[in-house]
Amino acid sequence: MFKHKNSLKINIKTWFFAFLFINKLSLHSAWVNKTSWFSVFIFAITLLIIFPFGLGIEALKRSDVQIGCYWIINQFVIITSVSRMFSAEQENNALDFLLSSKTPRSAILCGKISFTSMQILSLQIPIIFFWTIFYHVDEKTIFLLLKTIIPVTFLFNIGSSSLGALLTCITAKSLAKEILLPLLFFPLQCGILLASVSISIQVASNSLLGTFSSDAWWTILFMYPIIFTVLGILLSNILLQEQ
């Protein structure tokens, strides 16, 4: 009989511990590499400042333009965070080591998805703050807006991170990965982006982007994270493999 040291059976408990372990690891990597967080934040603030120059101050008085700008900046934040998802581990073959243990691959993927969405949220909170100041967002609508924008942002983050995790794994071994990640990411993310923008605009200017109820948009917002996370879990063995 083999001596299994602390025989670790692969079950839900170990899956959960692996999930927490990956989150802790990524948090540690992000903490050690604080400049990366700050660089994305400064880049987002720069974009916030550029929009008035490009669109004109008159255009920024309209609430739908204000909200549109917010979501465009979100897109940039997401794409930079997603492209760096596995970079700390891939840099020096640490991912190979992690994969050689029996850490469940779906736990690795889910841990990365949850950490990336938290990281993006941590960037979005100061961005919202500066956005309300720079763009003179109406005080009456701010409270209403925040009540909607927070859950919408949360779902948007998880949906986009899960999609991004799938695509990062897919394009990791390709020769043109800098082009492929945006090229595949933006078309697939259209749905959730439209849903988030529509719901926010509906709150802000009390009009709808379409002649239908907002229930359909909320359905899309909920479906995206669910579908892509489930796809990620099912395909995690294939995605995180060498060949």
Binding site: F2, K5, N33, E89, N92, F97, S100, S101, K102, E242
Partner: protein
Amino acid sequence: MNCYLSCDNLSLKVGYQPLINLFSLNLYASQSIALIGSNGCGKTSLLKVLAGLSKPSSGKVHVLSKQLWPENQSEHENFCVFLSHIPGLLLDHNIINNLKFYTQSFGLKLPDESYLNALNRVGLKNREFQTARSLSNGQKRRLTLAALTLIKPNIILADEPTNGLDSDGISLCLNIFEQLMNSNKTALLVATHEQKIIDWCQYKINLENFSLQNKKSKKTIKALL
């Protein structure tokens, strides 16, 4: 004798080129095997397949008598460590955190002194909070050896473990391997060019015997729809 790792008629391909053909191996407890062969004959690819990182094109792999390929049926943690030829580290973290990453990947929780003792053993004393990026290649190598002493694995698949080590380092590496084999019944499969390691290992396998490089026979390829 317990068979820790066995593979049966394993074939590897790179793209359409066959790399290794019908490779079979039985690795028992406390046994050390050296894999030798020229550059590019497939040592790293073979070790990656045995570690579960890559897929072979055909064949079976069993680890601790549970099947690994074609279908992963293992239920317990195998404690099979794969050491790549570039030491796999998290470069921005400090040394202690790297050791913790190694041990916690396998689900082990150890007290802090054991990490310090392991570092002392490999000659990285008083460097616990140094960033891994600032270490030299040989020091990174020693760090991975320290991790080995902490994990105490069942199987070690090492890809050129002495790359970058000085002669003291090579002796240290051999010491650690020897100790793990004696006290822990570790099985060892090393791909290496270093003569000391080859002489030290109990058996040698030459991978050139399993490649089809020099056979120029007429092959028929079945055209699939």
